[in-house]
Structures are given as C-alpha cells and as structure tokens.
C-alpha cells in the first residue's frame, strides 16, 4: 500500500540519477515517501532500499536519525513552536502553554480529530522575529496568543489550505533538469582528469 506510487517512482528515479552514488538520494526519497503518505511506513523503507540498492535496515538507520521523519501517522498540521533562546526570551513558553490549552494536548501530542500535532521545536532561523512557529514548515512570525488562535481557526476551516499543504509535503517545487542541459553524474572512480576549463585559458 505505501510503497511509492508509479508516478513517485518516476520522480525517485530522476532524483537518484543526479548523484554519483545512489544512496545519496536517500533523504530526498524519504521526503518523497512522507509526502505520499504523511509518514514513512515500513513498506516504503523496503521500497526505497530496493530503489537505491541498500538494505531496508540501512534505510531505517538513516531515516531514524532525522527529526522530520515520522514513522506513524500524525496530525494533518504539525505545529512546531520554537523554544530556543531568542524565542524563549520573547515569550515562547507562554505561547506553548496557550497552544496546549487551546488544542487540549501536551507538546508532542496529536488532537483526537487528527488535525493537529503540537511540538516543541529547536531554533528555526527566524530569531529576530521571535517568538516564531512553523505549521508544516511554513513560518509564522512574532506570534501572539491571539495570532495563534486565529491560525488554528483558519487551519480548521481550510482557509489556509493553498498556502499550507498537509504534513509531508515540503517544497512544492521540484528541480527539473532538461536532458539537453544536464552534464550528468559520473561515479568518481570514472573521472581521473582535470576539468577541461582548467587549461590556463579563459573559458569564454
């Protein structure tokens, strides 16, 4: 069921071909699996292992190192409230308490209707805009408790569904390289000469 779909296998093959070693594609492919199902299933990890030529145990080993990967279903919207220093100085704890009360779950929990998972997050690189949060990795900055209430309302009513995709969808834009423009990945052992433009002359 949760092996990659045919169309995602095509995307996966395109991604794999860009690397001199297939295993390098693993993290992008894990994101692809999470995009398809909202989390990463065992079947998906077996499938990815087949695609890049490693065991499913190796896929599992890599996947479990990274915090963004989930191995069971979570809420449609993952609300990550930053709690690192700059946000803490600007009142992120109050924001988290408010979110816990409003959603009726503790940090780490998922609401009964499966809409929201609330999580404490580490620094999200928006420190001058503290306190900040991300919903499915889309930013909200200088968030007040009233902002948070409005955000939850808007997510519930589907008002933000264009801007904020469901959990699992990260970048909505994929890289495309036209075959006539692509140089192509070459395994390192097959290259033993310096690039042609290193000939002491200008390239243009």
């Amino acid at each position: 069921m949760s092996r990659l779909s045919d169309s995602n296998v095509a995307v996966a093959k395109e991604i794999i071909a860009r690397y001199p070693r297939q295993k390098s594609a693993l993290i992008p492919l894990l994101h692809l699996a999470q995009e398809q199902t909202g989390y990463i299933s065992r079947e998906a990890m077996v499938h990815l292992g087949e695609l890049v030529g490693v065991t499913s145990a190796e896929v599992y080993g890599t996947a479990t190192f990274y915090e963004m990967f989930r191995f069971e279903p979570i809420g449609k919207y993952l609300v990550n409230i930053c709690g690192t220093m700059s946000c803490a100085l600007m009142g992120s704890e109050k924001l988290m308490h408010h979110a816990e009360k409003r959603l009726g779950v503790k940090a780490g929990g998922t609401t009964a209707d499966g809409m929201f998972t609330l999580a404490h997050a580490e620094c999200q690189a928006a420190c001058t805009e503290a306190p900040c949060l991300q919903v499915n990795y889309r930013f909200r900055l200088r968030v007040t408790t009233a902002d948070l209430d409005n955000l939850i309302d808007d997510l519930k009513t589907g008002k933000l569904s264009d801007e904020i995709p469901v959990h699992g969808v990260l970048s909505k834009v994929r890289q495309h390289i036209a075959p006539d423009r692509e140089v192509g990945a070459v395994a390192p052992e097959l290259v033993n000469e310096s690039p042609v433009w290193l000939n002491g002359k200008a390239a243009l």
């Binding site: 190192f65 803490a88 503290a130 890289q175 290193l198």
Partner: protein
C-alpha cells in the same frame, strides 16, 4: 534612518555598503528577471572571461572569510585540495541552524540566483565537477525559491552544459536535509549527503578538502560566503578590501535578536562595527527593549561564550573577540536585558545542544544530557549547591582545562581566550557547556540564590537497610 521592508521579515536595510543584500529591497528579488536587471550573472561572465586560477587568486587576495562559523578564508580553503586528484566537489552548507543565526535562509529565499552564481564562480575557479546545494529540511520556502531559481537558470543556460557557450560545464543539484543540527558540521553534512546518519567524521583523516564526499576532495562553503563572489567578480578585489579591515574585509550579515527595540538582520561593515553600535546604534537596534539595562549578550551564536556590557566596544573582528574570550561564529547576537533569568536562559541553549547531540562521542552524549538535567533541577528549584561544582566537573570532561570566558571588572575576572580544548569530534558537546560555563562564571550569585545549601547529594538506596 533605517527602513524595515514588510516583504523581507527580519531584514533591516540602511545606508551602508551592500554586498550580499543589495536586492532585498525589491519585492521580486528572487526572480531571474529582477536578478538580470540588477547585474545578475555579470560576475559569472567576468569570471569566465579570465583563466580559472586568476579567479581563485582574486578570492585569496580579497580574503573572503568563511561566514559559517570558523571564519577560515575561502580562497585558502579551496587551495587545500591535493594536486591532481579528480573529481572534486562543492557542497554548499545551507543547513543554517545555530541558535540565533538568521541570514542564510534570507539569502536563499530573497536572492537565490546570487547564491547560484556564487556556486558557479567557485566551481569554475577551483575546478569542481559537481555542486550539491544542501538546504536545511525545515526551510520549505527556501527550497521552493532555490528550486525555482535553479530551474530558471538551467533553462536560461547559466547552469549545466557549456555555460554561456563556454567550455565550463557543471550541474548544481538541490539537496535537502531532514532536521539535525549537527549536520551543519561539514563532515556530518557530507555523511548526510551520502545518505547516512549525519554524524561527524574524525579529522584527520577526513578533512573534506582531501577526503570528503565519496572520499574525494570536497569544498564545503557556507551560503553567505558564496553569495559574496558575484559582487567580488563585478567590482574587483580592491573594491572588496576597501570595505572593512585588512583582516576582516567586506561586510557580514548579523542577526540581532532578543531584548532589543528593533531586532533585525543587518549587513554590517566587517571588522569595525562594534557590539555597542549594533545593540544601541540608531541605525541598528536602537537600544534595549523598554529602555531596560543590558545584562549580557551572546556574540556569535548559541555556541559562543557570553559577553557582558564590559565587552560592548569590541568590533566584529576575530583577532579581538577571540582573545576577549569568545567567538564571532555565525553572525548571531542574542541580547538579554536585566529581567532575564540567567539560569533559565542558559538552560534553553544547553537543552538545544543536549537534544542535538548525535551520540557518537561519549562526553557529548552523556555529558550534554547531564548538564541539562542538573541545570534543569537548579532552574526548577530542586538543585543543591553541590550541583554548581558538578556542572563544572561534567563540563571539564567535554572541555578539559580553562574554558574561555570574558573579563569582568566587577567580578575581578581576567579573560580566558578562545578556543577551548575538547574531547569530542565536533563542537556540539562544547557548545552544551558554553552557556552553562558563561552563566555560572558571570552570574554565579543567581545560581546560588536558587539552590539549597547542601554539601553532598544524599544517596538513597531503596530496599537496602543500613
């Protein structure tokens, strides 16, 4: 008079030389159209019109310092690759996640083509065969903007085969992470790019310049470092070194956050701008929030030992900040005013590093965790005064010897210069200790005020009768 642009959150412009943020004032700064209308890809054309070794010399002569944290000159770094070993790779470090740091995300979201042009110039100059642009997993918008820019630039002939009709060809591959702070360390970044758990490699032998991606010579450069190159190519070495000082030329992006009136990201003149300018200057943050008093500040990201008002007049110059007991790191200043609960503030950072420890080195995995636990019980009011010594003892197992700290006139402290000794492969472990050590050294009375006087921690063994 500074202006905040609504469409570029966090960024505050000003009447200063702009090397990497010149396009931020445009709402469409991330498009190819805007880029080409504002000298875009002219630096690439200028570079390709000269032999590659001359471009490398320019970067060396301009002393373009690495903006990721260590501050190592990029031109020198490129020169460390062994002779006649091919292929060589470029890995762009866009895994910005050091607490307080907010600049690479802006550069990727607001001006992705500038970064791409920087990658192309570096690849041409250093003879690199493929470029991997690694963006932090949590930055969805940056991934979208860079992906769009790459697609545009490929289609327009700026990336790929025979760029601008020359014999220079290279692919730039967009890669992205999945949430792990330690992957910002260059060898961990390479591990992650190879599809593995992102754990740092031991140096030696794994110096990326000699033995990096797939065991090949690899240059790992920060986003901001590469974003400097198009301007350098267009304007020349003399114009670049005319800004800033001899040892810290050019500009750098600095995020100032926390208790200031106008937090923001500023492109400042390197080497001369002081912390006082940044925190109190009218063109920057304009003073402390609510006109409170400044208590302490972190000068270079969460890993850096703290400064107090005694160090306000130090400039952004590594050769002065190092001996004063800290580092400039990744251009992140976090400001704490008099209302700050110092042990609690230190805990947010120690928690961060303990949480982000990859677990490879025991002193970091165990020590970081214990630092957090002990600090937490102090903050929660159940610590004892033995805990204060315990914190320092655990820290000494991660960083033996004197740990760097700032001078403090009131406390009669003399500075211990940066850097520290460490028992771990990378800086995550020492970074868990840095806030604890700074807080305890500079504000010991705040810790003493909330611990119970007890010389030892009583050991109670349930079920064992005496």
């Amino acid at each position: 008079m500074s202006v905040t642009y609504a469409h570029a959150p966090g960024f505050v412009a000003g009447d200063r030389p702009k090397i990497v943020t010149s396009r931020f004032e445009f709402a469409d700064s991330y498009t190819l159209e805007r880029y080409l209308a504002t000298d875009g890809y002219k630096g690439l054309r200028a570079a390709l019109s000269r032999p590659a070794n001359e471009i490398h010399d320019d970067v060396k002569n301009a002393t373009v310092l690495g903006r990721g944290g260590a501050g190592f000159p990029a031109g020198t770094k490129w020169g460390l690759t062994p002779q006649q070993v091919w292929p060589r790779y470029l890995v762009v470090n866009g895994d910005e996640s050091e607490p307080g740091t907010y600049k690479d995300r802006l550069l990727m979201e607001r001006d992705p083509h500038q970064l791409i042009e920087g990658c192309l110039i570096a690849s041409y100059a250093a003879g690199l065969s493929q470029c991997f642009l690694y963006i932090r997993g949590e930055m969805a918008l940056a991934q979208e903007r860079v992906a769009t820019a790459l697609n545009e630039a490929y289609a327009a002939g700026y990336i790929g085969k025979n760029i601008l009709g020359s014999n220079f060809s290279i692919d730039i591959i967009l890669h992205w992470g999945a949430g792990a702070y330690v992957v910002g360390e260059e060898t961990a970044l390479i591990e992650s790019l190879e599809g593995n758990r992102g754990m740092p490699r031991l140096k030696p032998p794994f110096f990326p310049a000699a033995n990096g991606l797939y065991g090949q010579p690899t240059i790992v450069n920060n986003v901001e470092t590469l974003a400097n190159l198009p301007w350098l190519m267009c304007n020349g070495v003399a114009a670049y070194t005319a800004v800033g000082t001899k040892t810290s030329p050019g500009t750098r992006m600095v995020a100032v956050s926390g208790h200031v009136k106008r937090p923001g990201v500023f492109e400042i003149i390197n080497g001369t701008t002081t912390f006082r300018d940044l925190i109190f200057g009218e063109e920057f943050c304009g003073g402390i929030k609510d006109d409170n008093k400044l208590k302490a500040f972190v000068p270079g990201g969460g890993s850096a030992p703290w400064f107090t008002p005694d160090q306000l007049d130090l400039p952004f110059e590594a050769s002065q900040v190092g001996p004063a007991g800290s580092m400039l790191g990744s251009g992140a200043v976090m400001v704490m005013d008099e209302t700050t609960d110092i042990p609690a503030a230190a805990l947010t950072l120690t928690h961060f590093y303990a949480h982000e420890s990859c677990g490879k080195c025991t002193p970091c995995r165990e020590g970081g965790t214990w630092l957090e636990r002990i600090l937490r019980r102090i903050v929660d009011g159940s610590g004892t005064d033995a805990d204060l010594q315990q914190l320092l003892e655990v820290g000494a197992m991660i960083c033996p010897g004197d740990f760097p700290h700032a001078a403090n006139e009131k406390l009669g402290l003399k500075a211990v210069p940066f850097p520290y000794k460490m028992t771990t492969i990378c800086f995550v472990g020492p970074s868990a200790f840095a806030p604890v050590h700074s807080a305890l050294t500079l504000f010991r009375s705040e810790f003493e005020a909330r611990v119970t006087k007890r010389v030892t921690i009583p050991v109670t063994a349930v079920g064992v009768s005496s």
